[in-house]
């Protein structure tokens, strides 16, 4: 126990160095920039047919690999003044186009011809975004997602610029700054609503506001889980999964806002003695992804763990443990493999794929119970 605590303490200290200071450079005594190591993988996604993997690095580099051979079929590097903290990629539903949000721009590629089709300015005008904790974060994207038809591309930048770009009209049909807190968002099933989990935006509502929903919370989630750090939807976008800074995964009905499942997948917080010890427990889950059959959710966190949660039982399985923080994970729509990425403590790239067969084997042999689990009702 002591060794585990010491290890956690060391890991957390190092994590803080990465997250709070990291490679951050003080431009002057008044300006602290929060960013990530240039070689950190910030997002990863399989193409719908599972043939390709797209990944984007903090340094602004985009790569598309052939999944079977790891051969690079597309690469491009955007010159940036600072390494990024957030960047996103998203394949169109047909898989022929790839959107990559890097810096203040969204780049749309035709992967078959490796042609850059569009460059869309969907970020802020400044390369650095100021936050009220006194830090600056390089402009980037916290959300980037096509709607189900591939005709509308939604994006949200670190500067909280929220846009929806029409592929047909080549214009923004929504373009506004939503606030100062870039909460990640997702499309819902009807291609009309967009949600951050607690509020919903209707693209046909002239008020152009995210309207809060009064969904039913789950006992235990609020007292233990903390704010949300990442979001994803299931395949048909009727369920939202959000992960939190204290290692929780929460499933929400996308339209009612009711929390229907909640899991805390590591130590609970109730025994902390002081503020520092509480903060030690902070372990943001930076990305989550559903399995195509919606039975399992996979998560990666700031302490380098790759874990899957069985939704029905709440059991948790550690798939991999890396030394540095992980920022991206994706479960292939073809249900053949998962891919994840991040960085080592030495600031090198972490990127790996694991077959679903191996994930299943580990789940059979090494699953354990979570700290708490509230599973969705079977008769839903």
């Amino acid at each position: 126990m002591v060794n585990k605590r010491m290890l956690r303490s060391v890991l957390f200290t190092l994590l803080l160095c990465v997250l709070l200071v990291g490679t951050g450079q003080a431009q002057n005594s008044q300006q602290v920039i929060r960013n990530l190591p240039p070689m950190a993988v910030l997002d990863v996604q399989y193409s719908p047919d599972g043939r390709y993997i797209a990944r984007v690095y903090a340094q602004g580099r985009l790569e598309v690999l052939e999944a079977a051979s790891n051969r690079t079929v597309l690469e491009d590097t955007v010159a940036l003044p600072h390494p990024l903290q957030r960047a996103k990629v998203d394949w169109s539903p047909t898989g022929d186009q790839l959107a990559a949000g890097i810096g203040a721009q969204i780049y749309i590629w035709d992967v078959g011809t490796t042609q850059l089709l569009e460059t869309i300015n969907a970020g802020g005008s400044e390369p650095l975004v100021y936050f009220e904790d006194g830090s600056f974060i390089p402009e980037g994207f916290v959300s980037l997602q096509w709607n189900s038809t591939g005709l509308l591309l939604m994006a949200k930048s670190m500067s909280s610029r929220f846009t929806i770009w029409s592929k047909d009209q080549l214009v923004f049909i929504v373009d506004q700054v939503t606030g100062n807190n870039p909460v990640p968002i997702v499309w819902l099933a009807d291609d009309r609503h967009i949600s951050n989990g607690t509020s919903v935006f209707d693209i046909q509502d002239p008020t152009s506001r995210f309207i809060p929903r009064q969904g039913q919370p789950l006992e235990g989630v609020l007292n233990n889980c903390g704010p949300y750090s990442s979001i994803a939807t299931n395949a048909n976008r009727t369920l939202i999964v959000q992960a939190t800074i204290y290692d929780c995964i929460v499933i929400t009905d996308a339209f009612t806002g009711d929390e229907i499942g909640g899991y805390q997948i590591s130590e609970i917080l109730s025994l902390y003695e002081n503020d520092l010890e509480l903060i030690e427990h902070m372990n943001p889950i930076w990305d989550v992804s559903w399995s195509p059959d919606e039975s399992v959710i996979i998560a990666v966190d700031s302490q380098g763990a790759v874990r899957v949660v069985d939704i029905a039982t709440g059991s948790v399985t550690l798939i991999a443990q890396q030394s540095g923080p992980l920022y991206a994970v994706d479960w292939a729509d073809t249900n053949t493999a998962i891919a994840y990425g991040g960085s080592t403590l030495g600031e090198d790239t972490v990127f790996a794929t694991v077959s679903v067969a191996e994930v299943d084997r580990l789940m059979m042999s090494a699953a354990r119970q979570p700290e708490f689990a509230i599973t969705p009702a079977a008769d839903r």
Partner: protein, 428 residues
């Protein structure tokens, strides 16, 4: 002749003959600068200008009397003629007395003591300084009076901050401002040990040490830079620390049981993890039905809901934001009246200090706005006509600007909910 405008202390002295507050007399004072004088009967309602005052033209906008609000008239003073020479108010003597401003009224006194009372003659508050303390205590008492609907601010102050304590008063200890090493001496009758603390020259500190009187120490010297630039606000901030300590309850949560409910509430925003007293599941949700509907025990959001963070954790970085919007004054790289512990002035504060000091500054802003925006209004005025939480922003230490996302209202509503919960749980 020169003329200036300013708001100064004005209060009503109960008319003994009538026995009703409504027929009291208006008393105007500017502690330590101008003499206190009783001006005239309070008008029943409406506006009234007094032009026969010796030093002032007094414009009174009398608000209707309410048992819930007492009086919160708008008083504007225009100085006329040559500014007068300050007339010292009575210096507190060594005679043990609860009365700070002797009056002929039966109003109870504030349960406070100065270090130059009770035999501590080596530690003398100046006349000006006692005026600052008196005003601060009165201000806090008035806010509590509104909150608790008590007959007097003294009753409210004593009920919240001193009743049941041992000893039953807040002790104000004056250090001489020549060293940061301060030893607090307690009156011999208390049989309390001396207590050594470190207080920056020019600064104040509150001792909430079990077994000792709750003590506000100010280490103020006579040279420039050796005293607080906003001494009244500094004292109210320190009384916020006293309040935080007084809000300790018996609880399984260590913050609630060792630091106090106000600390626990602020810590909810700091960690994103709510304590039992403020968590909606285990208790009636104190944040239910708010105007700022996505504010809760873990975050204060503005008009933009989850996208508009006033105080709490940034979603994309998991870092806490005390915030540069919604305070009564700013920016936070200098001392201003309503940020007595500004973040950029103390960048190396450990986490618990950040939480504790933010709690005291939130208390300070709440006290002033509670007095001057009663009943509370939200999303009506930018930046606002009250004191305390203001709908302004000072981003990145820039000059202040109007903020139409109402961050001051969001902070105020959040604090009202927190304070209601604290008073309820404490039974005040």
């Amino acid at each position: 002749m020169r003329e200036r405008e300013g708001k100064r202390r004005a209060s009503y002295v109960r008319d003994k003959r009538a026995g009703l507050a409504e027929s009291g007399f208006l008393e105007v004072s500017d502690p330590g600068v101008y003499p206190t004088f009783t001006l005239a009967p309070r008008p029943a309602s409406g506006n009234l200008n007094y032009t026969d005052a010796e030093y002032f033209i007094v414009e009174v906008q009398a608000n209707a009397y309410s048992t819930a609000t007492s009086y919160l008239d708008t008083i504007t003073l225009r100085y006329q003629g040559t500014l007068p020479t300050p007339t010292p108010t009575a210096t507190p003597t060594v005679t043990p007395t609860n009365t700070l401003t002797p009056t002929t009224t039966p109003v109870p006194s504030y349960n406070i003591r100065y270090s130059n009372e009770l035999g501590q003659t080596s530690s003398n508050w100046s006349v000006d300084e006692t005026g600052y303390i008196q005003t601060a205590v009165q201000t806090v008492g008035e806010a509590f009076q509104i909150q608790l609907n008590t007959s007097t601010p003294q009753n409210a102050f004593n009920r919240v901050l001193t009743n049941g304590a041992d000893p039953q008063y807040v002790y104000f200890f004056k250090a001489e401002g020549n060293s940061s090493n301060v030893t607090i001496f307690y009156p011999t009758e208390l049989s309390k040990p001396n207590f050594a603390v470190t207080v920056a020259v020019g600064g104040c500190l509150t001792v909430n040490n079990n077994g000792l009187p709750r003590t506000v120490v100010c280490n103020w010297g006579t040279q420039p830079g050796q005293s607080a630039p906003y001494p009244i606000h500094a004292i109210v901030h320190e009384l916020g620390h006293v309040f935080t300590n007084r809000s300790i309850i018996s609880s399984t949560d260590t913050h609630e049981s060792t630091r106090g409910l106000l600390y626990a509430a602020l810590h909810g925003t700091f960690s994103g993890n709510c304590t039992p007293a403020f968590a909606p599941i285990n208790n009636p949700d104190p944040f239910a039905g708010m105007v700022f509907s996505e504010s809760a025990c873990e975050t204060i959001n503005d008009l933009r809901n989850a996208d508009g963070l006033v105080m709490g954790i940034i979603a994309s970085t998991s870092s806490w934001v005390r915030g540069e919007r919604g305070w009564g004054s700013g920016p936070d790289n200098v001392f201003t009246p309503f940020q007595q512990h500004p973040l950029d002035v103390f960048p190396s504060d450990p986490p618990d200090t950040q939480v504790d000091e933010t709690a005291a500054d939130m208390f300070l802003n709440w006290v002033y706005r509670r007095r001057t925006n009663n009943p509370p209004t939200y999303q009506t005025t930018v930046p606002g006509t009250w004191e305390g939480f203001s709908n302004q922003q000072w981003l990145n230490n820039a000059a202040g600007g109007d903020d139409f996302n109402y961050p001051g209202d969001a902070r105020f509503e959040w604090m009202n909910r927190v304070m209601n919960q604290i008073y309820s749980l404490k039974g005040w």
